[in-house]
Symmetry: C2
Subunit: 343 residues, 2 copies
């Protein structure tokens, strides 16, 4: 019985199979330079001794770790204990994509203030980095530039814009925002408030805003700047933003929240204010987190295909690691209509 104290090595297998240790290694790496019969003997021994290749040793030799690292970073201001559910859903799909590609995934939560840029790959624990998180892009960008300068392999999830350092995968936020506005306008809404940051500090939110704005202009409805309130992606900030909006006493008949969490907080504030959703105010979110369909009323929102996103992040990073060409990509956005925007 295999036991911690006596783990089998390739030498044990070699002895057992009556071949050299080098041959064992060849078999296990799938080298074609091995006679079929010899191969079988080795494989039998591997079976019998429940042998597994020591990944540290092989990685030390090949200089390839077979491991990717996922850095989930959070704004230090946010509540430590609550991770954005959208990212957790991405985490699931990234993990699966790694497994499918025969790689392991190291996970780490980082504060945006940490020196995360220079750790995992430098200590040879990972071949490349996947960066996931909202945060102030203006603060964040120099770190990306440092990664590029260091030659670190990485992909990030986020807005896909011209002139960004490195390779990015993201949702078509502009199209998503546009769809939301189109939907609301189609339902007769005319004064659409936007809850979420709308500046280059938060490019994903900004693109959603710009998409919405573009459609409103096309429809001849000028966007009113008093209808935009800053908010990060949390229920609490959504609640506060909606309160702030109500305090301005400007008329509006719809809310486009930059994320589902913001939308859920906004609905709470609206209800407290005696406004009904969707009768008085239509509300639309973004992300389609698990909670969205269980909100009251169920939330109309924009789906970001996290399954495909995880796959694309992993595959793109692996191309980078292998020095193959890779480029930024945008995934299509898709509107899901639920009650919160219904007439």
């Amino acid at each position: 019985m295999a036991n911690k104290k006596s783990k089998a090595t390739s030498v044990d297998i070699a002895y057992h199979a009556g071949v050299s240790q080098a041959t064992v290694s060849r078999v296990l790496r799938g080298s074609p330079l091995v006679n079929a019969e010899t191969r079988q003997r080795v494989l039998d021994a591997v079976q019998a001794l429940n042998y597994k290749v020591d990944r540290r040793a092989s990685s030390l030799r090949t200089q390839r770790a077979g491991t990717l690292a996922l850095l989930l970073f959070e704004d230090p201001t946010e509540d430590e204990s609550h991770i954005n559910p959208f990212f957790l859903s991405m985490l699931g799909s990234i993990t699966r994509a790694c497994a499918r590609n025969g790689h392991d995934l190291l996970v780490s939560f980082q504060q945006l203030s940490d020196d995360w840029h220079a750790d995992y790959e430098d200590s040879m624990k990972a071949d490349g980095l996947i960066l996931l998180g909202y945060g102030d892009y203006v603060d964040y960008r120099p770190k990306l530039e440092k990664l590029v300068a260091q030659g670190t392999h990485f992909v990030r999830w986020g807005a896909v814009l011209a002139g960004q350092p490195g390779v990015s995968i993201g949702c078509d936020n502009f199209a998503g925002g546009r769809m939301v506005a189109e939907h609301l306008v189609g339902r007769g809404r005319r004064r659409i408030a936007f809850l979420g940051y709308a500046s280059s500090h938060y490019p994903e939110f900004f693109e959603r805003y710009r998409g919405c704005d573009a459609l409103l202009r096309e429809a001849g409805l000028s966007a009113d700047p008093t209808l935009q309130v800053d908010a990060l992606s949390s229920e609490e900030e959504g609640y506060q933003a909606a309160k702030a909006l109500l305090a301005r006493e400007v008329a509006f008949d719809a809310v486009f929240a930059a994320s589902d969490l913001i939308a859920i907080g906004a609905i709470r504030a609206l209800n407290e204010h005696g406004l009904r959703v969707p009768e008085d105010i239509a509300v639309v979110g973004f992300d389609d987190i698990a909670m969205a369909r269980f909100a009251t009323p169920p939330l109309t929102t924009v789906i970001q295909d996290t399954g495909r996103a995880g796959e694309l992040l992993v595959e793109t990073l692996l191309r980078l690691v292998r020095d193959q060409p890779a480029e930024s990509m945008m995934l299509p956005a898709k509107l899901v209509v639920r009650k919160s925007s219904g007439a």
Copy 2:
């Protein structure tokens, strides 16, 4: 500028600092056998060359990976794309606890049917395993026994019962269930339905059921077996279970759902049936997932302290890895009262 092609090694540092490579290693390991001035010279060189110890090499030498693996396993029957939010919250706290203890975390999602028992530690990628997941314990138990037989270091999150293989950390499910019943009885409810498996196949749910049952007996209210309906932890199963309960046409004035997800599904079924929560039926869940407070009405539930749980899982596993004594532990449960159980 440090560049992928010319990563500094301890030999480079040695040359730079004018010492032997062995001394560099001593400094970096914090050995006391180094002269203060020599140490400083080495540290300066480390700084200058942005050197990081290669974890693979050091791990190969010391036979300690500095890495833990988290295996999140799911019932193959469950929807692949949705991970239980409760586990995601645990994931966050486990990651942080690992970081605090200077370890990395490898994450993997496993189907309960996979041969997960013999992988991570065998290929020396991790020093130990954290097992997280619901699943049929009767199927699951032989795998745990195999892990024990192999001498694998592991801790699992789950029910803490006598005679289990290995070390377990879990919430005091019995006390939690008891609290729920006490709360409901205190609010005048007499016929409490339980939605969730109540058998040794799902020991966590079973303990919750037994705690509830115990209090009902103490209160002189015999538990009615027609008020229990099987369900796994998902919104859909909760919905179906509540429908099945309603179809039985037995009277009940409260629902104790074995998890928040089940509770949320049950509320949907109750509402469809024209029953108001909490006026007609009080509903209580378990877990306090992020969604619970945003449900309509906000859900009374039992908090499991995931922060402390993650810490305890990691610390206990690390004790095991170091061959220090470690034992199973139960975390206290805590009731949070929200509207769903209010009169």
